[in-house]
C-alpha cells in the first residue's frame, strides 16, 4: 500500500518537463508578476467589474504562457499583446466559465478600505460605460485608456476604420445622452 503512494511520484519524475519549458515558465512567471496589476486594472476598465476583469486576465495570460517563447519572439511586446488579446476576448465574449478570482478580497470591516463590490458606486460615467455593448466599450477603452488612433484600434480589433468610427460615435453619443439626461433631471 505504501508503494502505491510512491508510485505517482516516480511516474512524475520519470517524465520531467523539458528544461526549456521550465526556463520559459520562469521568465513568464516574472512577466505575470510585473504585468498583473496593470492588466487587472485594464481588465477592470474593459469588463466593468473585478470578477470579469480577473476572468479576462487569467484566460489571456494562460494562453500567452502556454506559448511564451513564441509570443515574445513574434510580438516583442507581450504586454501590448496581452492587452490586445484582452480587448478581443472581451468583445468576443468567450468567457464562458467564470474563473476563481485573481483579485484579493479585502475585509469589509476595514474602515479605511475604499473597496466595494463596485468601487465606483453609482458614478454616472462609470455606470453609463458599463452599460455599453462590449465592442463599443472596447473601442472607448482603446481610445481613451490606451490612447490608440482610429487606425490602431481597427488593427487591434480586426475591424475596419469605418466600424471603429461608427462604434465610437455611437458610444460617445450614448454616454453623452445618459450623462445629460440624468444630470438634467436632477432637481
Amino acid at each position: 500500500m505504501v508503494a502505491a503512494v510512491d508510485l505517482p511520484d516516480t511516474q512524475q519524475t520519470a517524465e520531467p518537463e523539458p528544461d526549456v519549458a521550465s526556463a520559459g515558465f520562469g521568465e513568464f512567471a516574472e512577466f505575470v508578476r510585473a504585468a498583473l496589476p496593470g492588466l487587472l486594472r485594464y481588465g477592470h476598465a474593459l469588463a466593468g467589474n473585478p470578477h470579469d476583469a480577473a476572468d479576462l486576465v487569467q484566460g489571456v495570460l494562460e494562453r500567452i504562457g502556454a506559448r511564451w517563447n513564441t509570443v515574445v519572439r513574434r510580438t516583442g511586446d507581450p504586454m501590448a499583446y496581452a492587452r490586445r488579446a484582452m480587448a478581443n476576448a472581451h468583445v468576443s465574449r468567450w468567457r464562458r466559465t467564470r474563473r476563481e478570482s485573481l483579485v484579493a478580497d479585502l475585509p469589509d470591516s476595514d474602515a479605511n478600505a475604499v473597496w466595494q463590490p463596485d468601487r465606483f458606486g453609482d458614478e454616472q460615467l462609470w455606470q453609463a460605460l458599463r452599460a455599453l455593448p462590449p465592442r463599443q466599450r472596447a473601442v472607448i477603452v482603446l481610445r481613451y485608456y490606451d490612447d490608440l488612433s482610429e487606425a490602431e484600434i481597427a488593427r487591434a480589433l480586426g475591424i475596419s476604420r469605418g466600424t471603429v468610427k461608427s462604434q465610437a460615435n455611437k458610444a460617445m453619443s450614448t454616454l453623452r445622452t445618459r450623462m445629460g439626461v440624468t444630470e438634467g433631471r436632477e432637481p
Binding site: 515558465f25 495570460l61 488593427r155 450623462m179
Partner: protein, 269 residues
C-alpha cells in the same frame, strides 16, 4: 500603415472625463497572493495539452485529417478526384491514402518544443516556397511522391526529413530541419508548389500551430470566421496577398493541421 493620425478629440469634455475615469485609482484592483501561481499553473496545463495534441494525436491523425482538410479547402486529393465536369477518366481511386503517412516515421524525430518551431509563411519555409516551379522543387531530392498525378496536373509529396544519403547520421540528433517533420506539399505542374501542409514543428508568424486553441486563433486573427464545430477555415496571410492559411479544427476547437496555400490555385483544373 501609418498609424499616427490621431482622431481629433471629440469636441467636448467627455473625452477628458473618460481619461480621468481611466486614470482613477479606484480602477486599480488588489492582486491576490496566489494569482501568479494560478496563472502559471494554468499556462502549464494548457501547454501540456497542446504538446500532447501536437506530438501524439496530431501526428497520428495527420494523414486522415490532412486529407480531409485538403479536400475541404478546395484541393482534391489524387485518390479522391471529385471533378466530374471535365469528362476525363476517373483517376485511380484506391491508392495514396496509405502512402500519405509520413514516410520517415521510423526515424525518431524530437517533439517540437517552443524553441524549435519555425515559421511557415508568408512565402514558405526553409528551401520551399509557394510558386516554386515543380522541377526545381523536385531537384532538391527531398521529396517523395505520395500520390498519383490527377487529371488537373496535381501531385502530392512528402517532404523528407533527411535526404537518403544522410541516413547514416545519428538519428536522435538530426542535422535536418525539424520543420520538415510530417510536412507535405501539393504541386500543380503549371503553377508549381501551391500548398504546404505542415507538421507539428511549424507556426504561423502569429504563433498559431498544431494544438493552438480556438481562443489562440481568435487572439491571433480577430477577423477569422471560426466554424461552429469542427471544420476548416482560412485567413489571408500578412505580407503575401497571394496566399491564405487554412486551418483544420477539431470538435474541441484545437488546430489539428494547417497549411499555407495559394489563394487562387487549386487542383480543380
Amino acid at each position: 500603415m501609418t498609424s499616427d493620425e490621431h482622431e481629433p478629440d471629440v469636441p467636448s469634455d467627455l473625452g477628458d472625463e473618460l481619461r480621468r475615469l481611466f486614470a482613477d485609482d479606484r480602477l486599480t484592483l488588489p492582486v491576490s497572493q496566489d494569482a501568479e501561481t494560478r496563472v502559471v499553473t494554468g499556462a502549464r496545463r494548457r501547454r501540456r495539452h497542446r504538446r500532447a495534441l501536437a506530438t501524439t494525436g496530431g501526428v497520428l491523425a495527420m494523414a486522415a485529417v490532412v486529407l480531409a482538410g485538403a479536400m475541404l479547402s478546395g484541393l482534391v486529393h489524387p485518390s479522391h478526384q471529385v471533378r466530374s465536369a471535365s469528362g476525363g477518366p476517373p483517376v485511380l481511386s484506391t491508392t495514396a491514402v496509405t502512402t500519405t503517412a509520413p514516410t520517415v516515421s521510423s526515424s525518431p524525430v524530437p517533439a517540437a518544443t517552443e524553441d524549435t518551431v519555425e515559421v511557415l509563411g508568408p512565402d514558405g519555409v526553409g528551401w520551399l516556397s509557394l510558386g516554386m516551379p515543380w522541377q526545381k522543387a523536385l531537384a532538391s531530392g527531398l521529396l517523395r511522391q505520395s500520390g498519383p498525378v490527377t487529371s488537373a496536373g496535381c501531385l502530392r509529396y512528402t517532404v523528407l526529413v533527411e535526404s537518403p544519403r544522410d541516413r547514416t547520421t545519428e538519428p536522435t540528433t538530426p542535422t535536418v530541419p525539424l520543420w520538415a517533420d510530417s510536412t507535405e506539399i501539393v504541386v500543380n505542374v503549371h503553377d508549381g508548389v501551391i500548398q504546404l501542409i505542415t507538421g507539428p514543428a511549424l507556426h504561423t508568424p502569429e504563433g498559431i500551430g498544431v494544438g493552438s486553441s480556438r481562443e489562440d486563433l481568435r487572439d491571433a486573427y480577430p477577423k477569422l470566421i471560426l466554424p461552429v464545430h469542427s471544420g476548416t477555415t482560412s485567413v489571408s496571410v500578412a505580407g503575401n496577398p497571394y496566399a491564405v492559411y487554412v486551418f483544420n479544427i477539431n470538435s474541441d476547437g484545437d488546430v489539428t493541421s494547417f497549411s499555407l496555400r495559394m489563394a487562387k490555385s487549386d487542383c480543380l483544373g
